[in-house]
């Protein structure tokens, strides 16, 4: 059902947890659907210095959360905002079609966390 990369990120998820005193926080998902992701970011000099996630959800939800944290670490805010849900799925060698809608929300969580940071900075959100 899942690619080797999905199973790798699912069974050994990277960056699980919650950053204390995070600069930005983004939560997406719907408990009725069965997937909720919470991403916290630490931002230093306009770059993603650290990122952690907590996810309630299926294999795809966990793997996309883990993957997006790897993709975004060290990136500038603009680079991070350019990461799409599809890019996350592609980096995992694809997801089963039925998982593309419900469980592929990690980039949304990331964008929300960055928006949260920008809002706190007083800058207009994207």
């Amino acid at each position: 059902m899942y690619s080797d990369k999905v199973m790798d990120h699912f069974s050994n998820p990277r960056n699980v947890g919650e950053i204390e005193g995070a600069d930005g926080e983004g939560t997406v998902g719907n408990p009725t659907c069965g997937d909720v992701m919470k991403l916290t970011v630490k931002i230093e000099e306009n770059r993603i210095a650290d990122v952690k996630f907590k996810t309630f959800g299926c294999g795809a939800a966990v793997a996309t959360s883990s993957m997006v944290t790897e993709m975004v670490k060290g990136k500038t805010i603009d680079e991070a905002l350019a990461i799409s849900n599809k890019a996350v799925a592609d980096a995992l060698d694809g997801l089963p079609p039925q998982k593309m809608h419900c469980s592929n929300l990690a980039a949304d969580a990331l964008h929300k966390a960055i928006d949260d940071y920008l809002e706190k900075q007083g800058a207009p959100t994207k």
């Binding site: 408990p31 009725t32 309630f56």
Partner: protein, 411 residues
């Protein structure tokens, strides 16, 4: 790594003696039972013997009451659409429950589109359907009552005898889906008092793609597959002789082993339930603890999602299933668990263990040993805090994202 199969309600392996009995009719006695010459007649005799054997095990008065189908779903479809079609001039109403298998619910929905009315009698929090409520739902326009004998998700066993008696008293045909029940409880069509009963081979160590519908003599039923007039005009198509031979042999074995197996599995189930409830916090045992299939234990774990749980178990060699949306083709959480009054989140966190013929105490102990670690690991990853409902979580952390299922289903 030892493989542990805890999904016997999904399917079961074909027994070697069943496969052996079938092989003869695949390779050597390949004749068409409708043919006049000897090879065909040999197949016809074997078919008749299989029919007699199945009739005997199910307590049917006459082998003619057994109609072979291509599985449990077809048997359910035949019972429902066949009666609706035959009796349509006499009424337009059917009674069922909210926890039926899709092979019953979907044909009923199909009939609703062409003008039939269906009453869905609710199940209670324990997954039991009140026979009095079923009786009360019957009107003068009711053609059929269909309620499953044992549920496929939570294993609850309904009082079919009481429901069938009520239907019979009002002259209404009664069908029961007994697909999950064979080999797990006594099944006698006359003791139950049903007019129709569905079985499926692969649920009791027979082959996939073959099943049967018991149809009491005098029950009016039209075919749903038309053609060469096989099965006394009730189901056209050259008979699946090897499959039917396998079905009959598997049923004989299931009946022979039933008592020993049900006693053994009941002990294993209690061991499992005690172990899980005793070692993991925030877990609910779903379904009536006593009135259920001996091998079924269904749980809901708070703060975690079932597919993730299934994947972790699979990595450790354990096969089980879940009623979570993510593990279903429809992307909907189990309608059975929802109908019992649980939330979608409860359904997402469900784990169904179904033990069977091969299950052992060592396997149960292995599961009890590995499950707490998996649950703890997933909970550690979960954004929900202990005591916090997902709704509380989202109220605090942000707006609820729109339901992506609708988007998906519209495509």
């Amino acid at each position: 790594m030892n493989k542990i199969y805890f999904d016997h309600s999904a399917t079961t392996p074909v027994l070697p003696e069943v496969a052996e009995a079938m092989a003869e009719f695949l390779v050597d006695n390949y004749g068409n039972p409708s043919s006049v010459y000897e090879t065909g007649q040999a197949a016809k005799r074997a078919l008749q013997e299989a029919r007699e054997s199945i009739a005997t095990v199910l307590g049917a008065a006459d082998p003619k009451e057994i109609i072979f189908t291509a599985g449990g779903s077809e048997a359910d479809n035949l019972a429902i659409k066949g009666v609706a079609d035959a009796k349509r001039k006499r009424g337009d109403h059917i009674v069922t429950s909210t926890i039926e298998h899709p092979a019953v619910i979907e044909p009923l929905k199909h009939l609703e589109k062409s003008g039939f009315r269906v009453t869905y009698v609710p199940a209670d929090h324990q997954g039991l359907v009140d026979p009095a409520a079923v009786a009360d739902a019957i009107t003068e326009k009711t053609l059929l009552v269909t309620v499953m004998l044992a549920n496929n998700v939570v294993g609850t066993i309904q009082d079919i005898k009481g429901m069938a008696a009520a239907a019979r008293a009002k002259g209404v045909a009664f069908h029961t889906d007994a697909v999950q029940s064979v080999g797990n409880m006594p099944i006698d069509v006359n003791d139950l008092g049903v007019d129709m009963l569905s079985i499926s081979g692969h649920k009791f160590h027979g082959p996939k793609g073959v099943g049967a519908l018991y149809v009491r003599q005098g029950t009016r039923l039209n075919p749903i597959i038309h053609g060469g007039g096989q099965e006394r005009g009730k189901r056209a198509g050259t008979e699946n002789v090897p499959g039917i031979i396998g079905l009959a042999r598997a049923l004989e074995v299931a009946e022979r082993e039933r008592q020993e197996k049900t006693q053994r599995l009941t002990v294993l189930r209690e061991r499992l339930v005690k172990g899980v409830l005793g070692s993991i916090p925030d877990v609910t045992y779903l379904g009536d603890p006593r009135r259920r299939l001996p091998g079924n234990a269904c749980f809901s774990f708070k703060y975690i999602e079932g597919e993730a749980l299934i994947l972790h178990l699979d990595m450790l060699g354990v096969a089980a299933s879940s009623g979570s949306a993510c593990s279903s083709r429809s992307l909907e959480p189990s309608h059975v668990i929802l109908a019992m009054g649980y939330s979608a989140v409860d359904a997402h966190g469900s784990l169904r263990i179904t033990m069977g013929r091969s299950s052992t105490a060592a396997e149960v102990d292995e599961l009890i040993q590995i499950l707490p670690g998996i649950v703890a690991r997933l909970r550690e990853m979960s954004p929900f805090k202990t005591g916090e409902t997902p709704e509380m979580f989202l109220a605090e952390h942000g707006e609820e994202t729109p339901d992506h299922h609708q988007e998906h289903n519209e495509q």
